[in-house]
Amino acid sequence: MDVLNSLAYGFSVAITPTNLLMALVGSFFGTIVGALPGIGPSLGVTILIPIAFSLGLSPVSTLILLSSVYYGSMYGGRISSILLNIPGDEPALMTCLDGYPMARKGLAADALAVATLSSFIGGTLATIGLTVFAPFLVQFAIYFGPAEYLALYVLALSTIGGLTGINPAKTLLSAMLGLVIATVGIDASTSVPRYTFGIFKLYDGVNFIVAMVGLFAICEFLVYLETSHKAARIIPVGRMTMSWRELCSWPASLRGSLLGFIAGVLPGAGASLGSYIAYVFEKRLSDRNGTFGYGDPRGVAAPEAGNNAAAGGALIPMLTLGVPGSGTTAVLLAMLISLNITPGPLLFERQPDLVWGLIASLYIANVMLLVLNLPLVGIFTKILSTPPWVLMPMVIIVCFAGVYSINHSAFDILLMTGFGAFGYILRKMGVSLVPMVLGVLLGGPIEMNLRRALSIGSGDWTILISKPLPVILYLTAFLLLAVAFVLDFRRAGKESAPAPNTLTI
């Protein structure tokens, strides 16, 4: 009953006019971000951070706004998948497989409705999961000391590439480079300037929002320039023809939600993997007549439920342990740290309004998204036909204004551009940028926890592995890495293509 009390308290926080407005604005903006190809959830959330700061929003409202964008983008991705056969963002990739064929058969409205309903089911179930499991995990995490945290960060960094098929050495490399970037600036405990080259602006270190905007937004734009984009033909939406029972596709949605949720909670997996395994599993299980890939509604429902459930699941490790499991949750974490809020088990005790207000808002945002995306889907299809020569410069200018306003420094714009170009080269070489962002973010905490652990142990390094939990975490990290390297060697033995696209979600 404790949980219900907390949730009721959360709703009292979430139902204030400002927070309701934030959930609505976030949901609307998020759906647009999701729908527009080339603008993913991490980018959408990142560019809003400086604006949210300068508006002087409270931490609760900021978190609600950004999390609603995150949830909304999972809904929006389906629109371009179904109507254009171009995924609006990466988790929506699997929705193309059956969504676009449905639309070509004249079932566009039905496909959109199936995707919305399954998104709602996935999103709501994941939020329930978050409500139930997060407090449970917090009780466990409260016993974490510096050694445990250090091990957890190592686990998060070494598994973020997961089993995505990307060369694990490059994933580790990306994380290491992130940690290296995090060492720039004045060392927190000894005040020694490190790697600043005497540049005054680097004494404060590299602001991770600047790094993120460069690595996500500018890099994305450079990728976008690779192909010349013509105005895509949007399939007209039309009317719904299917019954409500068919539209809901309950079994597929429920299975997709469960798989997606698990994928979301695991570090390093995220929404893309959630929708992928949900689709593949559903296809194995239900594709008896070979209808999958030719417009089967279940092939739309499963991945959509999967990616929305994964988005909710990914919030669990972020809120309870302060360890982000994906690119977008890393951005949310960065935002919290910038507000001087340390996520982790103590957050639930010290700032219950923040945690429970957020959770309650996610329920509300899901309902808003259902309403926005069922009857009002026409608005979003209109926005989808915005020409790229307006849209892309607009994104870049928002990045400029946002990054500039953090420190009022044009140097940050230069730094952001540098990160964009650097990230682009790495991405072409099959290096995922998410581990780098995590590295930049976790570099400080990792070094700090290493210091604390060593202080406790009076400089004795064996303190790091003197308890069972850190040992288990290190072994898990080691095993997962070993599996990833073995898989990579097998793949290299056969024909091997470089990873086509790196996960950015």
Binding site: N167, D187, S189, E226, W389, V390, G420, K428, S455
Partner: protein, 149 residues
């Protein structure tokens, strides 16, 4: 080939990074000090660099021709933006930047001017005036601000 080259660069960087770390002196009783953590990183980074040299992936498909020109153009435009935004002010820097970007994305002369004007004035009013996010105003921004309020 690209991977091998990148691996070598990373290895060289890690040597420099680790060497520089040895110069960080400190006098406190901090058990770790400022140089141990970078030293650990430099060893790991160096090993990963050598791994890439030893076992490179297949050559990635680098972009050439027009897209490359556009990408280089974009980067140069952004670098230029960083240098002119304070002296010129947000409005005109943004006007030129967004017009150039719109041109590279295939907008005609009228459209790129309209995009530039819309984005520069629109975002200045939205961010600087409505959101109160101070941007470098420049002459036009000053005039606009006085005229609006």
């Amino acid at each position: 080939m690209s991977d091998r080259l990148a691996g070598l660069i990373i290895f060289a960087f890690s040597v420099w990074y680790g060497y520089t770390a040895q110069g960080f002196e400190h006098g406190t009783i901090d058990p770790l000090g400022p140089k141990i953590f970078p030293s650990i990183l430099s060893v790991l980074l160096g090993l990963l660099g050598l791994y890439l040299v030893a076992k490179p992936d297949p050559e990635p498909e680098w972009v050439l021709g027009r897209p490359l020109v556009k990408q280089v153009g974009t980067i140069s435009t952004m670098i230029g933006y960083a240098f002119v935004v304070q002296p010129l002010g947000f409005i005109w820097a943004t006007f030129f930047c967004s017009a150039i970007l719109a041109w590279m994305l295939g907008a005609g002369p009228l459209r790129l001017v309209l995009t530039g004007l819309g984005l520069s004035f629109g975002f200045f009013i939205l961010f600087d005036r409505i959101f109160e996010l101070p941007l470098p105003s420049g002459f036009t921004g000053e005039v606009l601000t006085r005229w609006m309020f």
